[in-house]
Amino acid sequence: MMRDSEIKILLKGYCEAPDNMKKDAFIRSIGRKQQFEKVSFVKMLALQARYIRKRMWIISILLLAWAVFNISGLESEKVEIISKIMPFFACFGMIEGCRAKMHEMSELEGTTLFSAKGAYFAKMAVIAMAHFFTIVLLAVFTPGAHEKGCLIVMARLLIPYIVTSILSMEAERSIRSCGKDNEGIHIAIPFCVALVVFYGREVLYDMHVTDSLDASKVMMLLALVLVFQTIEVKKTVKLEELLWN
């Protein structure tokens, strides 16, 4: 049991007792002072990064390692195969962001300074940056990449990644706004999305992207996908208003 005196000491840091007249103004000034130290987005990223589970990173690394080292066949086919891995790569990132609702943390997170939305975006941003960096590295160092041009390889890796993340965000938003908790859906949707993208890109890439005309098509597709991504992110930014309605 804690004694009153101990509680008093603990509460002293809370608020030093000023004289009664000035108390209100004093307390108000504490509140305002706190508000002036606005936390920057970079700090928020740093604070949230450590709460991305290690298993997300491990799965990403394993998927890549498997793709890069264990695929037999022609060197030039490796780009194809790695791009097929991308939806799964994106999936595991998205699942990491969906966890708040799944584990009933949304209400708690929603009333903090950063809010549930802030926590979600900070985690997503860290994961997306790490994945993007990896994709750039892959585009540069994958055997066979240079024959096709690094930029094209990068675009071909990015497109399935982005499409998956767009659809996952869409799914996450509809789950949130309908207010139902269904863990199964949370897991199943990204996987279905990944599969659709998986076959979708089979169709897209069946034609060999070798000449410059097809290359420009790929870049246009990337640009299009990026536009959709932006729209999707904007919609999700507005999500908080919709959360409980």
Binding site: G31, M105, L108, L113, G118
Partner: protein, 230 residues
């Protein structure tokens, strides 16, 4: 320091959960008393900015509830909450420190302080999964106090607490109420009759009685029952 609620209404499809409620809260403990389904949780969710009202307004000294500025001085304990399964009690609090903008060093100090305050320092490293209902509830209360809130909203905070924990909780709330606006909801009269400076009784989304309960007024319990038997 004034939290102002003005003709606040929330309608779900055909059900009006909160019906044109107006009141304002000042420093001190206010008990929100009402039976299950009275609309307490709906009202509180609107007061913490999680739920948009159908109509009406809420602001704190002119600050809208859907703002960083308000969330910065807000502490909230939901009626139900979960946790990430990998969290220990300490990690749970550290996580919310991070979400409330505390850097690592400040977060560590504050977490240790709060674990002690709610008597969880011995089980700080244990997974929340393994906590009893009362321990989890105390963790939730600790989480709400991280940022030394000016506005503290607690939805059925005594649920799951054993009698000893209830006594300690009341002592703590009484002290916090000296410096902050505290609103706590309950359907148990004894939770609030001794510590609340003011009581708001609600039924079917409306205020049925509000004021300060004095001993000479008789038993609050009887009054409460009589009000709801009508």
């Amino acid at each position: 320091m004034e939290l102002k609620i003005d003709r606040l209404t929330k309608q779900y499809d055909s059900k009006i959960a909160v019906d044109r409620m107006s009141f304002s809260l000042e420093k001190g403990v206010t008990g929100l008393l009402g039976a299950n389904g009275a609309g307490k949780t709906t009202l509180m969710r609107m007061m913490v900015g999680l739920l948009s009202p159908t109509s009406g307004e809420i602001n704190y000294d002119g600050i809208p509830v859907k703002s960083e500025e308000y969330r910065n001085v807000l502490g909230y304990l939901p009626q139900d909450f979960g946790y990430y399964p990998e969290f220990s009690g300490k990690e749970f609090l550290m996580y919310f420190c991070a979400l409330k903008g505390l850097d690592r060093k400040a977060a560590k100090a504050r977490t240790a302080e709060l674990l002690k305050l709610v008597g969880l320092e011995d089980v700080a490293g244990k997974k929340v999964k393994k906590y009893s209902g009362g321990m989890k509830q105390r963790l939730g209360i600790a989480q709400a106090l991280i940022n030394r809130p000016e506005v503290l909203v607690l939805d059925e905070p005594t649920a799951g607490l054993d009698p000893k924990e209830r006594v300690r909780f009341r002592e703590l709330i009484e002290k916090i109420g000296k410096e902050a606006i505290v609103l706590l909801s309950t359907h148990i009269v004894s939770d609030v009759e001794n510590i609340a400076d003011r009581i708001i009784m609600m039924n079917s989304g409306q205020i049925v009685w509000q004021g300060t309960w004095k001993e000479e007024d008789g038993s609050l319990e009887d009054f409460y029952l009589k009000t709801f038997m009508q």
